[in-house]
Symmetry: C2
Subunit: 101 residues, 2 copies
């Protein structure tokens, strides 16, 4: 179950996610990642898609060739939740390469 | 190589693609498809992604849970090309189920 972040938890998440932009109106986080080509971009999306199914928490996202833009928020709680924390960590680890092993 | 459509070819493509919306300013076609859930939506995207690699022609697209919006145009020719014809046919066949066999 998704639990909406408290103000302190939200501030902490935003501080821990310097690569993400916080939209305070929607209470959502957005990150754009660029790859060498479409193949790499879609591989990244596929790994996120499988994690999204596992967590039952799905991003809003778009892709144009080598660029992927991911937006995270939790509709059930109308803002950021613990599930978004999990997902930002997963995505940041993918980008950093630390989820490759 | 992508070849830009003539006015006659463009009119014919638009007529053959009633599920798609033509943006005349960008000379692009857009279709939104809704599925039962994210799993089905991402499966659809995966099939398109592999075809896109095969044709070396990639969509601009977005996904929110069970909904996928695909936009096709050809940057190299600054508008619709023969590659967009191939891709609309592929996508329409996927949606119709005739690409499942």
């Amino acid at each position: 179950m998704a639990i909406k972040l408290s103000d302190t938890e939200r501030a902490s998440l935003i501080r821990d996610c310097p690569a993400w932009t916080h939209d305070s109106e929607r209470d959502a986080l957005t990150r754009t990642v660029k790859f060498t080509d479409f193949n790499a971009a879609f591989g990244f999306m596929t790994r996120i898609a499988m994690q999204a199914e596992k967590l039952d928490h799905h991003p809003e996202w778009s892709n144009v060739y080598n660029s992927v833009t991911v937006t995270l928020t939790t509709h059930d709680v109308d803002g950021l939740s613990n599930k978004d924390c999990d997902m930002t960590r997963f995505i940041d680890a993918l980008v950093d390469g630390s989820a490759n092993s």
